[in-house]
Every structure is written in structure tokens, then in C-alpha cells.
């Protein structure tokens, strides 16, 4: 019988929630890496027992963790726990994210725009998102702050930047938003291994069609009134992007304000906010089997990061946007003032598609019927940063 494994990153550790295909009884394991911020965990589609995790701390920096047994045990790639003392240099670079500065990289950049308009050097802070390859369990991409894309091809032991992203020309104009200048979204095109989509706050969305060597901004159609030029090529605060794997040219975006849709792989966008009560929000995702069914969680505004009137509502569109319906059964409809952060929604691939999201109040909600009814799997975790789901046979 199929089962699901929900990978939850929180402010104070990681949690793994497991259930059979009914999704009504859950086992909770964790906290893993107790006390550390876990920005993201994600399993390899090639080998579901291979899970990568971003463990980070304002005190101690960035750690990459890996599990090869579905989250039961973890290690830093290349540095097994309890390694005996040996002379010579450490055996792994698994925590090292060094920006490319060599001339061989094409046009490596050393500065971006700072809050005061001056140029500021790129400074690594943390990994926001890990995206395992669709075809190789040893290959995984990392989106980092300050915004750049890294790749490991040896299971997370060593990381190399794909410098063409920062080097494509607009990099000096990128600037951090309130949450930092982070590369938070990585989408691999299942139909074209050379095509990758990424998104950066607050620079916008970008696409490569040659495996990461060259990139271009894909922000035409976005309108951001907080920019001097609202239709500028870059500078847009994209919060998240989602794609249905069977229709890789169709993208859905939750921007700072506005829910957007592209039918040409990001070349052009149009607004599909429609009847949403507010089109500010962070998460967006697509039903596993219905490419036109999309989910968002509207948040009141960029000044008030909580649901309208204290009512937590997921909105679903079955028409690819514009017409939205509120989904409230099982969700708190009074006195609820949590937020749902950008990487904290996911879907499973069971026949009856399950939808999941986590809140800054520590709840992880599951709907086993595509959003009609919701149950809290857990109520009292630390603030949830990310939610991913693995559908296991």
C-alpha cells in the first residue's frame, strides 16, 4: 500500500510525519537537529531514501545533512560522525559554499545593490532550498542567500556555483528584500534536462535553457508598484513559483502581490488573481493530477502577515486561476493569525491528491481530498519554514 512521508523544516529542527495512504493516522519523528533552523528538506525522486536537509544557524553557519535511509539517520556528506583523528586537511567541503570568482567562470560578479544604493559584495548566509535532480540521486541543487545557485554532483560533499546566473548582466541591480536576498525556488523541467527555473527575492524569476550556463530574466508581465518602473526587467519580489510536471511550460507564481500565470515557460505572465480576497501571499502549488487546479493561501497584506479576519483559508482554482473558491472545513475560522511561508506547501501524488501546508504557529495541515476537508497532523511544532511530501510505494 502506498504511504506518504512529510518532511517539515522548522525554526527549531526537522520533523518527519508518516502515514499510510489513508492519511488519517500519523507518526511523528523529531526533532532532528534540535535547536537549529531547518530551512528545507527534500527527498530524491530517484531514491526516496535519499533526503537532503539544510541545517543553519545564525551562530554556527550552514550545515548540509543527508540521510540515506529515509530520515532515520543523518550525516554530513563526506564527514561521517565519529571520524577518527587523522592528519591532514578535513575530508569534506560539504559546508563550503564559495562564490565563483575565477576568470574561467565567464563573468563572475563580486557586488550587488545594497539597501543604500551602493554596491555590496556577495556574502554567503544560508541555503534556502535544496532541489534534488530528477535523474541522479547524487546531484542536488541549492538556492542560497546571498542569491546564487550551487550544485553538488557527489551527494552533497562538494558544491560548485553555477556562476552564469549572477554573471548574466542584471546581478549588480539585484537587491535584498526584508528577508534577505535569497534564491528560494528551483524548478527542474522534467521534459528538458537543460531547462531550470529559479526565483529570487527581490530580483525576480530567471530561466536557463542550457543546463545553467546562461540565464535570462523571465519577468515580462509582472507589475510591481513598489518599483520605480513597475514593469522593470528585474527587481520583482517573487515569493514562489509552481509547475505541474506534465505541463512544464505552464507556471504559476505567487508574487509579493498578485497571483500570476505563464503559458510560455515564463516568457510572458498574466495576472490570475481574479476573485481572491487578497492576492498577497507566499505559497502556491498545483494539484498532482489536475494541471489547472491551483492552491494559494491569501495573506492580508505585506504589512499584516496573517489571514484576513483571523480566518485561515486555502483558495483553490480549478480553472488555472481567476475563479477561486475558499476551502475552510477543518481550518480555524476565528482568532487565527499565523503565516504560511513560501516553501511550506506541497502535494502528494496519491490517486486522491493530498495537499499539505505548515504555519508559523507550528501546525501542519493535511487534506486527503484535494482541499475539501483539512486536519492538523500536528498542532504545536516550532514555526514551520518548509513542507515537502514524498509519495512512497
Amino acid at each position: 500500500m502506498s504511504s506518504v512521508r512529510v518532511l517539515v523544516g522548522t525554526r527549531k529542527g526537522a520533523f518527519i510525519l508518516t502515514s499510510d495512504g489513508k492519511r488519517d493516522k500519523w507518526e511523528v519523528s523529531g526533532p532532528h537537529f534540535a535547536g537549529w533552523e531547518i530551512y528545507h528538506l527534500k527527498g530524491s525522486p530517484v531514491d526516496p531514501n535519499r533526503i537532503y536537509a539544510s541545517q543553519t544557524s545564525g551562530w554556527f553557519g550552514q550545515i548540509i545533512q543527508r540521510s540515506d535511509d529515509g530520515g532515520k539517520t543523518w550525516h554530513q556528506p563526506g564527514t561521517p560522525a565519529g571520524l577518527a583523528a587523522t592528519p591532514g586537511p578535513p575530508k569534506s567541503e560539504s559546508n563550503k559554499f564559495a562564490y565563483e570568482t575565477s576568470g574561467d567562470a565567464g563573468k563572475p560578479l563580486t557586488t550587488h545593490q545594497w539597501y543604500d544604493g551602493t554596491q555590496h559584495p556577495w556574502e554567503f548566509k544560508r541555503v534556502w532550498h535544496l532541489e534534488p535532480s530528477l535523474s541522479d540521486a547524487e546531484t542536488v541543487y541549492a538556492g542560497v542567500e546571498d542569491a546564487a545557485l550551487f550544485r553538488s554532483q557527489d551527494g552533497g560533499k562538494n558544491w560548485q556555483e553555477l556562476p552564469g546566473l549572477r554573471g548574466h548582466g542584471t546581478g549588480p541591480k539585484w537587491q535584498p528584500g526584508a528577508g534577505g536576498m535569497c534564491l528560494h525556488t528551483i524548478i527542474l523541467d522534467p521534459s528538458n534536462p537543460d531547462r531550470i527555473f529559479i526565483a529570487i527575492s527581490a530580483a525576480g524569476a530567471f530561466r536557463t535553457d542550457d543546463g545553467g550556463n546562461s540565464w535570462k530574466p523571465i519577468n515580462r508581465g509582472l507589475f510591481s508598484k513598489y518599483l520605480p518602473s513597475p514593469t522593470a526587467e528585474i527587481g520583482h519580489c517573487v515569493h514562489h513559483v509552481a509547475m505541474h510536471p506534465q505541463r512544464p511550460n505552464v507556471l504559476f507564481m505567487q508574487k509579493h502581490w498578485d497571483v500570476m500565470r505563464s503559458d510560455d515557460a515564463g516568457d510572458n505572465w498574466k495576472e490570475v488573481s481574479g476573485n481572491l480576497p487578497t492576492d498577497f501571499g507566499f505559497v502556491i502549488d498545483v494539484h498532482a493530477h489536475e494541471p489547472e487546479t491551483v492552491y494559494v493561501v491569501p495573506i492580508k497584506s505585506d504589512s499584516e502577515h496573517f489571514p484576513i479576519d483571523g480566518k485561515l483559508q486555502v483558495f483553490r482554482s480549478r480553472s488555472g486561476g481567476n475563479e477561486w473558491e475558499p476551502l475552510t472545513k477543518g481550518l480555524p475560522q476565528k482568532d487565527c493569525y499565523v503565516n504560511v511561508l513560501r516553501d511550506a506547501m506541497a502535494v502528494d501524488r496519491l490517486d486522491q491528491c493530498g495537499i499539505y501546508f505548515g504555519t508559523t504557529g507550528g501546525q501542519v495541515y493535511c487534506s486527503a481530498d484535494a482541499g475539501d476537508r483539512w486536519n492538523a497532523i500536528v498542532h504545536d511544532l516550532p514555526a514551520v519554514l518548509s513542507v515537502e511530501v514524498q509519495t512512497l510505494k
Binding site: 534540535a34 535547536g35 537549529w36 544557524s57 545564525g58 551562530w59 554556527f60 553557519g61 550552514q62 550545515i63 554530513q76 563526506g78 564527514t79 560522525a81 565519529g82 571520524l83 583523528a85 587523522t86 592528519p87 591532514g88 586537511p89 578535513p90 575530508k91 569534506s92 567541503e93 559546508n95 563550503k96 559554499f97 564559495a98 554567503f124
Partner: protein, 98 residues
């Protein structure tokens, strides 16, 4: 032998006891002690010093003999009491945050 005391999260990461003893050859300095620590516990690389710049991470401090040595140059000799193993070299996380 040099005695080093790690903060809680780094002990957990390294699967180490509260106090570690290290064999350090040559001059006993912050740099040589941290080099030896990272060689023995490579999982700590980057958690105390930046991987690239080798600068001390801002929210960590180095104490010994009731002195804050955080702002000493990395190659300044540590106190004799540390070099002789009488006093430990403390790596301390700032008390801050939630």
C-alpha cells in the same frame, strides 16, 4: 594536550564530549588550535570560522583564563596556561535570540 570546550550545538554536531583534548604541534595559537580541532572533527568546519575567509563567526567568542581573546590576531600565542593544558580554550556562543 590542549583542552577545548565547545558550545552545546557543536558538541552535538561533532558527537563530542563537553571538553575535547587536542594534540597541537608548533606554536599554540587560535589558528593552530582551530586547525587541529577541524582536522579531528571535520564536521565543525565552517561552524566556528567562515570556510573561505577563516574569520571568526560573529556570534562566537574565544575565552581563556578569564579573558576574551576573540579580537586577538589568529597567530598570537595563547596564554601559557592554555598551552600547558592547565586552562581550557573556550568556544562560546553568544547568549542571544529565541
Amino acid at each position: 594536550m590542549i583542552r577545548v570546550i565547545l558550545p552545546f550545538h557543536l558538541r552535538t554536531l561533532a558527537h563530542a564530549d563537553t571538553e575535547i583534548t587536542l594534540e597541537v604541534t608548533g606554536a599554540i595559537t587560535q589558528r593552530s588550535v582551530l586547525d587541529a580541532l577541524e582536522a579531528r572533527y571535520p564536521m565543525l568546519r565552517g561552524t566556528i570560522r567562515d570556510q573561505t575567509t577563516l574569520q571568526r563567526r560573529p556570534f562566537l567568542r574565544f575565552f581563556a583564563c578569564e579573558e576574551d581573546l576573540s579580537h586577538e590576531a589568529p597567530d598570537t600565542p595563547l596564554p601559557e596556561a592554555v598551552a600547558s593544558g592547565v586552562e581550557p580554550f573556550l568556544i562560546v556562543g553568544a547568549i542571544a535570540g529565541g
